[in-house]
Amino acid sequence: MTARPHPEPGAETDEDFHLTLFVSGASDLSARAIAHARQLCDGHLRGRCRLTVVDIHDEPEVAVSSRVYAVPALVRTRPLPVRRVIGDLSQTGHVVSMLLLLRAEDTAESLA
């Protein structure tokens, strides 16, 4: 996973969430995805979230290296494991469960 170019060293804790939202330009879906991602950061993850928005038209290589192929897509880069949510982020329950389950085992169990 490539680090985003705007780290804020020293200000992070283990509990910090690093989220990257991949969007496609100025589309409706992108706009809505941004709004929802921000809601998430200011809601459930208030004070623990750093959100970065990447336009795949500008930086397709970042999307590829993050294994994001369809957008909008919200990627949790920290804490590991990396998690990805594709499409509409308005189903906050689903999104939250996808993003907030910290351990892969937990995730697998929840999915099983």
Binding site: S24, G25, A26, S27, R38, H57, P60, A70, M98, A108
Partner: protein, 621 residues
């Protein structure tokens, strides 16, 4: 993480992706293409062209959620904020506004505020403030009111505004300066600086307009040319400042004496012109001229010490739009000269007779010019008899033109034209040279003293400034002794003499040359002049001499002049002596010398020697 868990996650993500695609929640795909640029495929939508437009437009654009988050920012907004777009999108707009800016935005968002323009300041990455004008329009998505904003960079405009304001100010100042300068130039170009009266250019313009008006109405206009008499004397005697005062006084008097519809202009040193469009006839114009003359001459009792102003006025009248400004001015000028030549302080009107006279003078001038060019000027010599000894004391040289057919033209035919045109200067120089050349060759056989040569001098010959040098040069060339040259100035010439001319006269007398006054009694020379000038002789005008024996008054005048001359130590010479009786009387009155037909007419150079011999014979008269 175990590989099993990892696989489950990947599978869940894949399912999620498929579900999202199926639900229409995905609008673009990235396809990795190793070794090449990754490609992005976007699902085309009908509004895509507008998105492209917004994306690439020159103004910043953003979509704001109802809570103020930036959901979308175009490239330009990122440029304005000098930040990467990913740090902008998803952040509240307030983060990028200068303090207090958010409140303004709330107003925009509020009822009635939409669609209005608002000026805000964005804060760039380094705290640099960028003034922007914000335009807004509402956007409803799924029941949520969003806001579409545009940001127009004002910094360039503001700089430009300031520049424009500065330039505008400078330009306005420059324009005002130009207008003032233009007005001054116009005033300068059309008015006389000393008196503030219109100048020649403006006068000509106004005369032309008046003529055009007369062509329509058939009325009269009159041009009155006013020239001050003896203004040069005022300048010479009292200085130019006094002259200027007089000119201003004349200007004021003329303006006061005329109606506001009349024009008064100053077109030269002491030359004023009045244009009046309301004259019924030529007589009317003459009345007006006479009135102006008396107004100019009138001296208020309180100003008795003021220099008396005299003037000559020439009038030209145009009926029904006849002539041009130039022709009317020329005619009025000619009439003015006529008034001046009649002694000044009078009014003359240009008429057909004067016109003929002018034409005659013009012809005479041309004839004189061609005679000068062809060296057809010669001199005749009239002996001047010493009344004590009866022999010739000398000769007076008199100019003649030798016509192409050999005939001789007397001076009366060309001297007025010569004086008027200035040709008297080359004429005088040629006559002086001829006279000195001839006189230097005369043999004074039988005479007591060497023969003198008298030559007439015009005041205009002083204008070149080097008359003394010219005379000295001719004396050297001809070998004529300086005291043998007698230069005669008319009284009128003496009146015209500037201070500078008097200096030249002094230089000439310093050479030994004698100066005398010609035609004494006909002009205005005062005793002051007799005293002021370095004179050696006076010539009594023939008009007085011819009255001797018949007019008692003339006898008294001639006697008085002879006595006056004797008392001032001057030689007296009588002109125009035709009878033995006149000669007798002159001898009785104590006159020193005489000339006239009684002794000899003016003689061609070839006859001079014989005359000298004849006059040496004491029995000749």
């Amino acid at each position: 993480m175990t590989s099993r868990a990892e696989a489950l996650l990947r599978m869940a993500e894949a399912e999620d992706t498929l579900r999202a695609i199926g639900a229409g929640e995905v609008d673009a795909f990235v396809v990795a293409d190793e070794g090449r640029e990754h490609r992005v495929f976007t699902l085309a939508t009908p509004d895509r062209p507008y998105r492209m437009f917004v994306e690439n437009m020159h103004d910043g654009a953003a979509t704001l959620s109802s809570s103020g988050l930036i959901l979308y920012a175009n490239r330009r907004l990122a440029e304005l904020l000098a930040r990467p777009r990913e740090t902008i999108v998803g952040s509240p707009l307030a983060t990028f506004l200068a303090p207090g800016g958010g409140a303004g935005l709330d107003e925009v968002r509020g009822p009635g505020g939409l669609g209005t323009a608002l000026e805000l300041e964005l804060i760039g990455v380094d705290g640099i403030r960028v003034p922007v004008q914000v335009g807004s329009s509402p956007l409803f998505v799924d029941g949520e009111q969003m806001l579409c904003l545009t940001f127009t960079d004002l910094s360039v405009h503001k700089v430009k505004d300031r520049e424009i304001a500065r330039l505008g100010q400078a330009q306005a100042e420059r324009l005002a300066e130009l207008q003032v300068a233009q007005a001054a130039l116009t005033q300068q170009a059309t008015h006389d600086a000393l008196t503030g009266l219109p100048n020649r250019a403006l006068l000509i313009d106004q005369i032309d307009q008046a003529i055009a008006g007369c062509q329509r109405s058939g009325q009269f206009i009159a041009v009155l040319f006013v020239d001050l008499d003896r203004f040069k004397q005022v300048n010479d005697t009292h200085g130019h400042a006094a002259g200027d005062v007089m000119l201003r006084r004349v200007a004021a008097k003329l303006v006061a004496a005329l109606r506001s519809t009349d024009t008064v202009a100053r077109i030269g040193g002491d030359e004023f012109v009045v244009l009046t469009a309301e004259v019924g006839s030529q007589l009317h114009a003459v009345d007006m001229g006479s009135r102006l003359l008396s107004e100019l001459t009138r001296r208020p009792a309180a100003a008795a010490d003021e220099e008396r102003i005299g003037a000559s006025i020439g009038i030209s009248v145009s009926a029904g739009g006849r002539g041009t400004a130039e022709s009317l001015l020329n005619e009025a000028d000619t009439a003015m000269y006529e008034a001046k030549s009649l002694g000044g302080q009078r009014v003359s009107v240009f008429d057909a007779a004067l016109g003929r006279q002018v034409r005659r003078r013009s012809i005479a001038r041309q004839a004189l010019q061609s005679a000068l060019d062809d060296h057809r000027i010669t001199a005749y010599f009239q002996p001047i008899i010493d009344l004590a000894s009866g022999s010739a004391a000398g000769f007076e040289a008199l100019a003649r033109i030798v016509e192409c057919d050999g005939s001789i033209t007397p001076p009366a035919a060309f001297i007025p034209a010569a004086e008027e045109s200035g040709l008297v200067v080359p004429l005088g120089a040629q006559v002086l040279q001829i006279a000195l050349t001839e006189a230097s060759g005369w043999s004074p056989a039988g005479t007591v003293s060497p023969l003198n040569i008298a030559v007439n001098l015009s005041s205009r010959q002083f204008e070149g400034g080097d008359l003394a040098a010219e005379v000295e040069n001719l004396l050297d060339m001809t070998g004529m002794p300086a005291d043998g040259l007698h230069l005669e100035l008319t009284e009128t010439a003496v009146m015209d003499l500037h201070v500078d001319f008097l200096d030249q006269l002094g230089s000439i007398t310093a050479l030994g040359v004698q100066i005398g006054l010609d035609d004494f009694g006909t002009g205005y020379a005062s005793l002051t002049h007799l005293r002021r000038l370095p004179l050696r002789f006076v010539k009594i005008d023939q008009s007085f001499v011819q009255g001797l024996g018949t007019e008692n008054e003339d006898e008294r005048i001639v006697g008085a002049v002879i006595d006056l001359a004797a008392n001032l130590g001057l030689r007296s010479i009588a002109e125009g002596v035709e009878t033995a009786d006149q000669l007798h009387q002159l001898r009785e009155l104590g006159c020193d010398q005489a000339q006239g037909y009684l002794f000899a007419r003016p003689l061609p150079p070839a006859d001079v020697e014989a005359a000298i011999q004849r006059l040496a014979d004491p029995t000749h008269c």
